[in-house]
């Protein structure tokens, strides 16, 4: 790891991603991103939020040169992004896209997941082990022999996620990769990410609009009009009505409920469960 990219303000861990003065535009008159400066330490879980069209997907695509930056300096995993380093940078980033159809290559689910692993020259046993582990975790073990075309939207998303996670990339980037999963599957996915983060070797970037996903992260980068409008914790975000409005976000249902109650003169903590809230209200005493 190149110590030159240490960011003292971000803690003791070295920055695994650093952007300085980065801009991008399809045409120069309408820049999509303008002068982005941000540093992400190794092991952090970051949510990237903002209204539709604010440049979230563009920002992450710049990191591994899927799109060419028009100005600025990007470094990932100690490599300064330039033509010679693109290969090394791409090896440490695993990206799951919005639409899983954009990343299928194999004839079957199994082939598709193994493709990335073969590229890493892993042993047969290692590949088999990872295949079993990640397909098991994502509940797609029964789909291994299926053609991607036979899968439903949500199943495709799980396959895309499994094939990226199985490569164990140092940086995992999800571009609204859970948008088509039901609530239960999304919770499971968050659990997997939490385990990965706890293992310490993963940096996670999640583009999301989902309040519960944001709540699970360490840090929120809010994009607005092509710039970083706020760099805050999830709790700070959800307490800031103006920022929420600006980012087109809503707080989690439980936060909403607590706020609505408060505006009616009933002060309660954000409830952890429906039972907790109803118990509190049942015993609620105004004179308190």
């Amino acid at each position: 790891m190149n110590q030159a990219y240490n960011d003292r303000t971000a803690g003791e861990k070295p920055a695994v991603i650093a952007l300085e003065g980065v801009s991008f535009g399809y045409d120069p008159e309408h820049p999509i991103l303008h002068d982005i400066n941000v540093s992400i330490p190794q092991g952090q879980w970051v949510s990237i939020v903002g209204p539709n069209g604010c440049g979230k997907s563009t920002l992450v695509k710049l990191l591994n040169a899927l799109l060419p930056k028009s100005a600025g300096h990007i470094s990932v995993c100690g490599h300064t992004l330039q033509e010679e380093t693109v290969q090394s940078i791409r090896q440490c980033i695993g990206m799951v896209f919005q639409n899983p159809d954009n990343q299928f290559i194999g004839q079957t689910v199994e082939e598709d997941i193994l493709f990335g692993l073969e590229g890493q020259c892993l042993s047969y046993e290692e590949m088999k082990e990872r295949l079993e582990f990640y397909t098991g975790k994502l509940g797609i073990g029964h789909l291994l022999s299926k053609h991607p075309g036979e899968l439903s939207g949500g199943q495709k998303q799980r396959v895309a996620i499994a094939s990226i996670l199985a490569m164990k990339p140092g940086i995992v980037i999800f571009d609204e990769a859970s948008s088509m999963l039901d609530e239960g599957s999304r919770d499971e996915l968050m659990g997997i990410l939490r385990d990965m983060q706890a293992a310490g070797s993963y940096t996670i970037l999640l583009i999301t609009h989902d309040a519960d996903e944001i709540l699970a992260s360490d840090r929120v980068l809010a994009l607005h009009g092509g710039s970083i409008a706020a760099d805050v914790s999830p709790a700070e975000l959800f307490r800031d009505a103006e920022l929420l409005e600006k980012c087109h976000l809503r707080e989690p249902y439980t936060w909403q409920l607590a706020r609505e109650l408060e505006s009616r003169g009933i002060t309660v903590d954000v409830p952890a469960s429906e039972k907790e809230l109803i118990d509190t209200l049942w015993q609620y005493n105004y004179s308190k």
């Binding site: 639409n99 899968l151 439903s152 949500g154 039901d182 109650l261 609620y284």
Partner: protein, 302 residues
């Protein structure tokens, strides 16, 4: 009835080694001018069901009746063009239905194809862009240069531009930001209530649709597991778990409140605002009751 399915089954790649039955013996009725939500675990057959509604897929068994068109398995199907104009379908991935080099051309394609004049088509394109909250400047843009969320809105706009009687949407809010999501749901509700259109929405976010939907259809492994109102669903949320779905938060909180405070007979309040209002009123009621009680008893406590 806008849509009626009788004993409908659908099998992919029928007569091949890879055949796979996605829907089994579905009986379903969707009333004209209603707003219906469809939910089910991934792979339960939701997207397959939608594609039966405008004849993209034809039933392997049974009869599908949409408006005045009847498609029966094994019989020669009637002309589907009029049906396609009246039933607009928005797919899961919007980039799969955009193909022109400007957004405007894409939006005009449908109306032009159904015999509308260019002028009228352009006017409709502008109106549906405005309805979707999209900047008219984007009309000149290449659709593939839009962001994911903008593309989704443009895809929905291109279907609305055809002025369909039935609008069928497959997870329309998946990649929209929450404000756009709420706006879209509000727009669809207006199309339903004010213009009498039939709206059918497949969703994984039941929370955002629960306050508005007249009816719910739940699928489990390709079979119909439930059909009924939101109120009926609220009365027995366990059905959701049997379908492999999580009970939405708004429903869990309402159920807990209803049980403790004895509200079970009431119409479920499924927004935070609605529930908070009702709870605050209940506490206030209790307080006044206690206060008057204390006065009479004469033994007040702090």
């Amino acid at each position: 009835m806008a849509i009626q399915l009788q004993q409908v089954s659908y099998t992919y790649a029928d007569r091949s080694m890879w055949k796979q039955t996605a829907l089994h013996g579905i009986n379903l009725e969707i009333a004209e001018g209603s707003l219906t939500g469809i939910a089910g675990a991934t792979g339960s057959g939701k997207s397959t069901l939608l594609q039966l509604f405008n004849g993209i897929l034809k039933p392997t068994e049974g009869t599908v009746q949409v408006l005045d068109v009847t498609i029966t398995a094994g019989e020669k199907s009637p002309r589907l063009l009029p049906l396609r104009r009246r039933v607009g379908l928005v797919f899961q991935f919007p980039e799969q239905q955009m193909f022109e080099d400007t957004v405007e051309k894409d939006l005009c394609f449908g109306p032009l194809n159904f015999g509308v004049s260019l002028e009228e088509a352009k006017a409709r394109a502008r109106k549906s862009m405005t309805d979707m909250g999209l900047d008219l400047a984007l009309l000149e843009r290449n659709p593939f240069r839009l962001s994911g969320g903008q593309m989704r809105k443009a895809a929905i706009a291109s279907v609305l531009a055809m002025d369909p009687d039935i609008v069928v949407l497959d997870e329309p809010t998946a990649t929209l930001d929450p404000v756009s999501r709420a706006e879209l749901i509000a727009l669809l509700e207006r199309l339903c209530r004010e213009q009498g259109r039939t709206i059918i929405i497949v969703t994984h976010r039941m929370d955002e649709l629960l306050p508005y939907a007249d009816n719910w259809v739940l699928l489990k492994d390709g079979e119909l597991a439930f059909q009924g109102s939101g109120g009926e669903l609220a009365a027995d949320p366990a059905i959701l778990e049997r379908c492999g779905l999580r009970v939405p938060q708004s429903l869990r909180y309402w159920q807990a409140a209803a049980e403790r405070f004895g509200l079970s007979g009431e119409k479920p309040l499924l927004t935070a605002e609605g529930l908070a209002g009702r709870l605050a009123a209940l506490l206030e009621e209790r307080r006044t009751l206690n206060a008057s009680g204390t006065e009479e008893m004469g033994n007040g406590h702090e």
